[in-house]
Structures are given as C-alpha cells and as structure tokens.
C-alpha cells in the first residue's frame, strides 16, 4: 500500500481510539492495569524512537553527528529549556558536528 494509504489508516485508527473511550463503560478502561499499560507504552515507544533516530541507519547502528544532537538536547532539557529551543539546539549540534567533520 502507498504511504497515503497508511497515513489514512493511522488517522482512522486514531479517531476510533479516541471515540471508543467515549463509548465504552468506564470500568473497562479505568483500572490501574490499563492506565499502567497506556503509560508504559508511551514511555517505551518514545524511548525507542529516540534511540533509533539517534543511532540507527537502516539496519545498522552508527555513531555520527546525531549523537551530538542527543547529548546537546539532554543538556538543554536538563537546563529546563522549552521544547522548541531543545529542537533547535539538536539541529544546531548536529549541523555543527558535521561542520567539524563528523559523518
């Protein structure tokens, strides 16, 4: 299927997930176990996305300019910088590392 197809399916799934919450009886979802799974899924996926975007190049692991972005972003977050600043710092760090000869 084309990328457009998957985009529209992702949109339909998102709308259905939200609407389902409004339809099902609260006791189905409102238990500590369900909350925990929803929360740990969010954390696990974001952690996985962070490291794949930082270290994966196709199916190989590489250390390149993106590591500078990861470190710089962590420092910015630790200094309580707002999200947009963190993103800009990440871009700057990767750009700078490439300028200095990193792959």
């Amino acid at each position: 299927m084309s990328l457009w197809g998957w985009i529209l399916i992702a949109c339909a799934v998102s709308i259905a997930t939200k609407f389902l919450g409004f339809l099902v009886p609260a006791r189905l979802l409102d238990n500590p176990r369900m909350l925990r799974v929803a929360g740990s899924l969010t954390i696990g996926l974001l952690a996985a996305l962070t490291v794949t975007n930082a270290f994966a190049s196709g199916q190989s692991l590489v250390v390149d300019a993106r590591v500078a972005a990861l470190v710089a972003a962590a420092v910015a977050l630790w200094l309580r910088a707002p999200f947009l600043v963190v993103v800009l710092v990440g871009a700057l760090a990767a750009g700078l590392a490439r300028l200095l000869g990193a792959a």
Binding site: G21, V37, A48, N53
Partner: protein, 242 residues
C-alpha cells in the same frame, strides 16, 4: 470577554499556544522525513495527536514501512482512549457532542479539564484547550511544513538532529521518576539490540511489546507516562477553581 475571565479558559489558551509551537517542529520534521505538505496536514488535521504523529514520521524517517509507522502511531495513541473514557465520566457530554469531543481529546485538553474542580470550568477548560490546540497545532504545522519544504536537504540543516532532540523532548517530562526512567532505559536497550536483526521500524514495535509487559507486571505508579507535553498546571502556579 466574559470567557477570558475563566481561569480554565486562560489556562487552555496558554497551553494551546505552547503546544502549537510544537507543531512548527512537527511540520518541518515531517517534510524532512519525506512526507509532502498535504500528507503532513492530513496527519495534523485527522490523526491530531502529537506523540503519534511524531512516531509516524519518526518511523518513516528511519526507512521503516508504512505498516510499522501506522502501528507505532496506533500504539502511542492508546492513551487517548483512556483520556476519552476519563473525559466522558468527567464532562458527561450529550451523544451528539461525543464525536467532536473525541477528536479534540489530547494530552493537553484532558489535563486542562481534569485540573479544574468546578464542572463548568472543566467544560470550558476542555473546549478552550481542545479548540485552541487544534487551530494552532494545524496552523503551525502548515508553517513548519512549508518552511521545511523550502529548506531542501534535511541533513545539511541538522534536521535529523532536530528529530532526535524532539523525541527526547517528548520523553523527558515522562521519565522524572525512577520506574518510568527504568522502563525507558530497558526499551531503549531492547530497541538497539533489535536494530541489526529486523527490518527498520520493527525494533520500535518490539520495544512497545516489552513496555506493555512491564506495564502489565505492575511496574511503577499507574499514571506514569500519561503526563501532557505541556503541563497546564505547573507546580507552584495558581490553580483556578480549586
């Protein structure tokens, strides 16, 4: 003008502005990942859930398949179902309103509503944050996508570094306690181990399975990971209606 005197509406609008700015980076990163402006806008208008949208383009940017991207977005969106259920109990909407409210359900609108005590304020907070975030998120996505499109080669501008920073920025507020940080580390390690052995995008889904198992086994407090990206009620700030 009367509405602006409501503390919940003011909180909702300031959350909307801060969240809208996330849209700038989403738009730029989405076109850098290879989506066109129209595809980017379809995600912001229809999928309308920041984390899931970032997940979708994050998988695509890494060369993952469409089905992996869709699955990552769907799994990251499960918490929206939980918010929908909570908002349904909290706001008791009429049947007709449910579909619109469901679409406006995000981390931010749910958190703005549930941070209020008075039922009317809860309702106003939800609509202010929901409509405000929807309008500004889409507006800023469009700006980000158009600007990103004009920038050309993503690597030259460090946009791949920006994506790394964006994901860490989304993760950060959710790993302030020890248990969620442990979940993040375990999932990160599992992902890296899996990268050489399975197609792009799949390591993220393997990490999701591990995270779900960790969650099911009762690791950590029940609401960890459900924090909004923009906290409507930062510690120390006055809390309206309480």
């Amino acid at each position: 003008m009367l509405l602006l005197r409501s503390p919940a509406v003011r909180v909702g609008l300031s959350v909307a502005l801060a969240t809208g700015l996330y849209g700038l980076s989403f738009g730029a990163l989405s076109v850098a990942a290879g989506l066109d402006v129209l595809q980017t806008m379809a995600l912001s208008l229809l999928l309308f859930s920041g984390g899931s949208q970032f997940a979708f383009i994050g998988v695509v940017a890494g060369g993952g398949s469409g089905i992996s991207a869709m699955s990552a977005a769907a799994l990251l969106g499960i918490r929206n179902g939980v918010y929908g259920m909570q908002l349904n109990v909290l706001l008791r909407p009429s049947r007709r309103r449910k579909l619109v409210m469901a679409h406006l359900t995000t981390d931010e609108s749910a958190a703005t509503a549930s941070g209020q005590r008075d039922p009317d304020e809860q309702r106003r907070g939800f609509w202010a944050a929901g409509i405000g975030v929807f309008v500004l998120w889409n507006l800023f996505t469009l700006v980000g996508a158009v600007v990103g499109n004009a920038m050309g080669d993503p690597a030259r501008w460090g946009l791949d570094g920006a994506a790394v920073a964006a994901f860490l920025g989304l993760l950060w507020p959710r790993i302030q306690a020890r248990e969620p940080a442990a979940i993040a580390v375990v999932c990160a390690v599992v992902t890296l181990i899996a990268v050489p052995f399975v197609p792009s995008g799949v390591p993220i889904l393997i990490a999701a399975v591990v995270a779900a198992v960790l969650g099911l086994s009762g690791f950590g407090p029940p609401t960890e990971g459900l924090e909004p990206d923009v906290e409507p009620y930062p510690p120390g700030a006055p809390r309206g209606g309480s």
